[in-house]
Amino acid sequence: MPVTSEVSEDGKMTTIKIGGRFDFAVQNEFRDCYYNAKTDGGAKFIIDMGGANYMDSSALGMLLMMREYLGGNTADISIENSSPDIKNILTVANFQSLFHMV
């Protein structure tokens, strides 16, 4: 599975793991990972890019959709373990101003 997710025991932290190509083909799987998550106070989301080897601009759009769905400026979303290529795509678009980049 290219996209999988895990919710912590207290339900407050959702980790979404991306594997392989992060593009429009995994749009539905990606959305399902956060669609039903609790978004009340203190909910935290981690996108683990460790297994991703490719990302395109439609994936950037998917990240924006997620951020808006989870409350826009109040959403707490971190992007972790990005490869240099993926980090480059994220920083060219200045996504570090919208997401925590670890």
Binding site: S57, A93, N94, L98
Partner: protein, 592 residues
């Protein structure tokens, strides 16, 4: 707008609620008793029956009555059943009419002969009524399916053709609107290579009213038609606001607002907009999401600067979060600016490897002559892709900084001899602009627009703009902000000057600029008078004029320009007020 909709069952003759619609069945048999038995059987199943007693009659009926199914005997006078079937099958390429052969024996040789003639089924005489009913129903069902598929195929083909025509038309329209006014200057080379008919990349360029030019390179999320639709509003804002004299910061912020309103959340425009200004030898850049802009020095033969994207792409940030901050870089004759979409660095070789930034940088390092750089980049990209498919839109622009070529984008003398469109009338207005307002508001586009509208000065817009911006920036920079123009003369001086100007403007709270504009009719035409006064301490304009006559430096360009473009220029008081006069005449020639 009728698009493809599957036919309803009753239209295709498919079973409705399990009951079959009555169909036309042709029974061909020269043996009357046998034929009448069959007719009775089929009529009792609810079908309409046609009869023929030989092949000749069968063929005539087939053409006139277009039956849905045929029961055919073999041996008949004139034309036998085999030949009739062959002819029927040869002529029904479009519509499938099943033929059931009525065989007199079950020997293989005869059955083979029936099938060779093209029959779809064979049933032995005398017919078992239940078996015959089953065979007829099965074949009518296949015929229905065949027709449904055939109709859908025809509709699909028609639909495809229509879509293709519409796409072609839209493509031409799109290209026309987006590329309106694209500059063709000897110092600019560019390629826009879309992967489909519609490009998700856009490249816009237009001359500014005060000489120099604006360029915008944008890359929408995705590609194709969906990506391209956003290009239309971007192009109209870009061309419209550039023509009216708005700055890069104002234009990108307007585009951002527009795109945020119309695009869905997951779509945006990575964009880089530049203002190349030959008057101040500067390049102003706003970059949101486009790979670093490369500045290559023609003299030093190396990359001297990379302007990284500082901002979110357009259409993402709300009005409050939107950051209009620009980078300002000094330009030297022969410097080259390269802006490209990520389609370049993400070009993929057949091995799956990406072109990447390092390969791009190496081309600059190994180039022998700057003139070859652009072609070299294109050639290397093509070689790298090695015939593989293009995966994204690829856009690249090279602009050589060439002062004379850039200044030629505007013919300043041009405006002088054009009479106003409207008959001369008398009017005046004035504006008092305090320092706080000037922090975020540039009055020039509005003032110029008002003058053009009131007196029909559209042909002189560029000239007016140049004069106004000179008067206004002198009042603001030197009168209100007290900036020293000597600063501009040092190396990288303009960029420093700009930064200093920005920081003073952000904190300045005292002072104001007054602009008074009046127009009146004269015997030959009209006269426009503009007075600009600031609350600063002024300057020694007489000495300055003398010094300026000998000086071709950066800061010396302004005032001589005023003298060359206006019919009168007069400084007042301590030099903190200036009046300029333009005269125009209805015969079409200026009387200056």
């Amino acid at each position: 707008m009728a698009y493809f909709t599957p036919k309803q069952p009753e239209e295709t003759g498919a079973p409705v609620d399990g009951a079959r619609r009555a169909q036309k069945i042709l029974v061909v048999d020269d043996d009357l008793p046998s034929r009448l038995t069959l007719v009775g059987l089929i009529e009792s199943q609810g079908h309409q029956v046609l009869q023929a007693d030989d092949g000749v009659q069968a063929l005539a009926m087939f053409r006139q009555e277009t039956p849905d199914l045929i029961l055919m005997s073999g041996d008949m006078p004139h034309i036998d059943g085999y030949e009739a079937t062959r002819q029927i099958k040869a002529s029904d390429a479009e519509a499938f009419v099943p033929v059931i052969f009525l065989a007199t024996t079950s020997n293989n040789q005869e059955l083979e002969k029936c099938l060779d003639a093209g029959s779809d089924d064979v049933i032995e005489k005398p017919c078992n009524p239940v078996l015959l009913k089953a065979r007829i129903n099965a074949l009518l069902h296949i015929r229905d399916l065949y027709h449904t598929v055939q109709e859908q195929k025809n509709e699909l083909t028609a639909h495809q053709k229509r879509l293709q025509r519409e796409r072609l038309l839209a493509g031409r329209l799109f290209t026309k609107i987006v590329n309106t006014g694209t500059l063709e200057l000897p110092n600019i080379k560019s390629m826009l290579s879309p992967m489909s008919l519609f490009s998700g990349d856009i490249l816009l360029s237009a001359p500014k009213p005060s000489s120099g030019l604006h360029v915008l390179l944008g890359d929408f999320t995705g590609h194709g038609l969906a990506a391209a639709t956003g290009a239309l509003p971007v192009a109209s804002v870009f061309y419209g606001m550039t023509e009216k004299g708005y700055s890069v910061a104002e234009i990108v912020s307007e585009i951002n607002t527009k795109l945020r309103n119309i695009l869905p959340t997951d779509m945006f425009l990575a964009a880089c907009m530049i203002d190349l200004n030959p008057g101040s030898h500067t390049l102003t850049i706003w970059n949101g999401g486009i790979p670093p802009v490369i500045i290559y020095s023609g003299k030093q033969k190396r990359i001297v600067n990379r302007i990284v994207p500082r901002h979110l792409p357009l259409g993402v940030a709300g009005d409050k979060e939107f950051n209009r901050r620009v980078d300002v870089v000094d330009m030297k004759q022969g410097d080259r600016i390269y802006i490209h979409s990520d389609g370049i660095t993400e070009t993929i070789a057949p091995s799956g490897e990406m072109f990447g930034r390092e390969r791009l940088t190496k081309i600059f390092e190994s180039a022998l002559h700057p003139d070859d750089l652009y072609d070299e980049i294109r050639a290397r990209l093509q070689a790298f892709r090695a015939g593989g498919a293009q995966r994204d839109d690829v856009t690249l622009i090279e602009i050589e900084y060439h002062q004379a070529a850039l200044e030629a984008t505007v013919n300043l003398e041009h405006g002088k001899n054009i009479p106003a469109v409207l008959p001369p009338s008398s009017w005046n207005f004035s504006l008092d602009l305090g320092a706080e307002l000037l922090r975020h508001f540039d009055p020039l586009p509005m003032v110029i627009q008002a003058i053009c509208d009131m007196q029909g000065f559209h042909g002189q817009r560029q000239q007016l703009y140049t004069v106004f911006s000179e008067l206004f920036s002198n009042a603001l920079d030197h009168g209100i902000l007290n900036l020293d123009s000597q600063l501009k003369k040092t190396a990288d001086g303009f960029a420093k000057y700009y930064l200093e100007r920005e920081s003073r403007l952000a904190t300045q709270s005292k002072g104001k600029i007054t602009i008074e504009i009046s127009h009146k009719g004269t015997r030959q035409g009209g006269e426009l008078t503009v007075r600009v006064e600031d609350t600063g301490k002024g300057f020694n304009h007489e000495d300055d004029m003398l010094a300026l006559e000998k000086n071709q430096g950066n800061s010396g360009r302004g005032i001589p320009l005023l003298y060359s473009m206006c019919d009168e220029v007069k400084y007042h008081g301590s030099g903190n007020a200036v009046t300029v006069v333009f005269r125009w005449c209805e015969c079409g020639a200026s009387n200056s």
